[in-house]
């Protein structure tokens, strides 16, 4: 007897993948936009090495920005899909089949992770070709770090998706969460220099730890130096998942 969770899981994941690809705008946007950002900004500021942007005097790594954008576009796409499915009664329809709730949501997450990996591979390929010499990062480590970050950021996406009533509202809310989150992530301004209130907000957001971890993996300081960020990403994942399980509405 197969475990309950696997009933229909691969079929639903494959189906959702095909459906995602059939919508050209969302597909291209999620997959290609971060890579374009990477290439354009990489040309302007340098691709892999922290550059002191002339006006702000802050180290700014374009490759990591692109990786975080990949994770964030996965979140926005997830929030949009779940709110559309809820509004259209699709979630409710799937819920009244023998599919388990974990399977229905797990398939959505699996699709997002698959496209995160594809988008990240495009990013690496573009980096190797366009900016030779700077992409010396361990690809495997970097991918694992991005996946872990994506998981954690996706779970925050689930909290948003659990609470928004309509698809229109979902777009507004996810933008209102995502952009400040990006600003507070430490990519542009060092977190240590934030006022205490902002600092504590920054630390309950997964992007902050994701950026620190990715930065570390990129610099080669390794996982050992960043176990705190890994633990924080996992803890936030657990907390956000628990929160969305409590508040999730199927209709």
């Amino acid at each position: 007897m197969r475990p309950q969770f696997l009933r229909g899981f691969w079929k639903l994941t494959w189906l959702e993948t095909k459906i995602f690809v059939r919508e050209p705008m969302g597909f291209v946007g999620a997959l290609v936009m971060p890579v374009i950002v990477f290439i354009v900004l990489g040309r302007a500021f340098g691709a892999g090495t922290p550059v002191a942007a002339p006006a702000v005097d802050i180290p700014f790594n374009v490759a990591i920005l692109a990786a975080v954008l990949i994770a964030i576009s996965a979140v926005q796409s997830l929030v949009a899909i779940i709110s559309i499915y809820r509004e259209g009664g699709i979630l409710k329809r799937l819920r009244s089949t023998p599919l388990s709730p974990v399977t229905i949501m797990g398939a959505q997450v699996a699709v997002k992770l698959v496209f995160t990996v594809i988008s990240l591979s495009l990013l690496m390929l573009a980096g190797r070709r366009l900016f030779p010499g700077v992409m010396r990062v361990n690809v495997f480590s970097f991918t694992v770090a991005v996946l872990l970050s994506t998981f954690s950021i996706l779970s925050l996406g689930f909290v948003i998706a659990s609470m928004v009533p309509t698809a229109r509202f979902a777009q507004v809310i996810s933008a209102a969460v995502v952009y400040p989150m990006l600003a507070l992530s430490g990519l542009f301004f060092p977190v240590e220099r934030f006022p205490p209130a902002l600092k504590s907000v920054a630390y309950v957001l997964p992007t902050t730890h994701a950026v620190a971890l990715l930065q570390g993996v990129w610099d080669g300081s390794g996982w050992g130096a960043h176990w705190g960020d890994v633990a924080a990403l996992l803890a936030l994942f657990a907390a956000y998942t628990a929160l969305s399980t409590k508040f999730f509405r199927w209709e």
Binding site: K11, E16, R22
Partner: protein, 304 residues
């Protein structure tokens, strides 16, 4: 016949709004049972509690001997559900939906046979968003039937469809019953209830106010019958007055309207016409419908 669904004293409220006040009913094996009433009367909430998709506040429900909450997993294998105003992913293909649903149940029917039966074989590769309203509903019926369920739930199946598509769906539902599956449906269309249902329950403000076969309800609440005929003979109305079950006979030019009550009324009128030798050019009867029963019981029309 055995009841496959037994509901007693069901109640459900959302905040301060009472959706279902007190509903008790039984659905028998192999029948089409209709829960009829205006929008907001509690039809969908009642049905969703019976399906196990909503948790009732009070009352007991048994479906195929199972408790819809406690035995939810087993029940899902044995019932088929179609939701009101449901959708699927816009860009899912018809065959993909059927294929996914087939993978979820241990025993399923052949996909192509089912699509052919529902007239969807030409739409196999079409995206859901390109289907017409009638085609979407037929796909939902297909998905509800894929595992040969013992009971099928159909919630407002033909709302928003044109009359032709509606008739096609009615024929399908009758076919489901004729294959031995019990059908529990809701509708606010009295014509639909009258055509399809073996028995109906009229629900208003979360309570069942009447229950029986459509004929029984019409007979009980609206016994009045009307015969309208045209004749060029003289003094026709006077010749009919006070005969048999005739209560009133009025003429307007060559058109006569004869009113009375009871099952024998139409026969009486025919006999009188024959006996009196009245030459009739046209003849029709007006028999009250469920719509009239509803109006009488609630004091308002179903769409008010």
């Amino acid at each position: 016949m055995n009841p496959v669904i037994a509901v007693s004293n069901l109640g459900k409220r959302y905040g301060h709004t009472v959706a279902v006040d007190d509903v008790s009913l039984e659905v028998l094996e192999g029948e089409i049972f209709g829960l009829i009433g205006p929008n907001g009367a509690g039809k969908t909430t009642t049905m969703e509690c019976v399906e196990g998709n909503r948790v009732p506040d009070k009352g007991t429900i048994s479906v195929l001997g199972l408790d819809p909450q406690r035995d939810a997993n087993e029940l899902r294998q044995r019932i088929g559900v179609q939701h009101q105003e449901a959708h699927l992913q816009k860009r899912i293909k018809v065959w993909e939906a059927v294929d996914l649903w087939r993978s979820l149940y241990p025993r399923v029917v052949d996909a192509d046979t089912l699509l052919a039966r529902l007239g969807l074989e030409a739409k196999r590769d079409a995206w859901f968003m390109t289907l017409s309203g009638g085609q979407k509903q037929r796909l939902f019926i297909a998905l509800a039937l894929i595992h040969e369920p013992e009971v099928v739930f159909l919630d407002e199946l033909t709302t928003g469809l044109d009359p032709q598509a509606r008739r096609a769906i009615w024929a399908l539902v009758t076919g489901i019953r004729d294959r031995g599956t019990t059908v529990f449906l809701t509708t606010h269309l009295m014509e639909e209830a009258e055509r399809l249902c073996d028995r109906v329950a009229i629900i208003e403000h979360g309570r069942i106010i009447e229950l029986g076969t459509p004929e029984e309800l019409v007979q009980k609440h609206c016994p009045e019958r009307t015969v309208v005929f045209t004749s060029d003979d003289a003094n026709v109305a006077e010749r009919l007055h006070g005969l048999g079950a005739v209560e009133r006979a009025e003429g307007n030019g060559p058109t006569y309207t004869i009113r009375g009550a009871g099952d024998d009324f139409v026969t009486d009128v025919i006999n009188i016409i024959a006996r009196e030798g009245i030459r009739v050019r046209g003849f029709r009867t007006e028999i009250p419908t469920l719509e009239d029963v509803f109006l009488k019981l609630t004091g308002h029309g179903i769409r008010d």
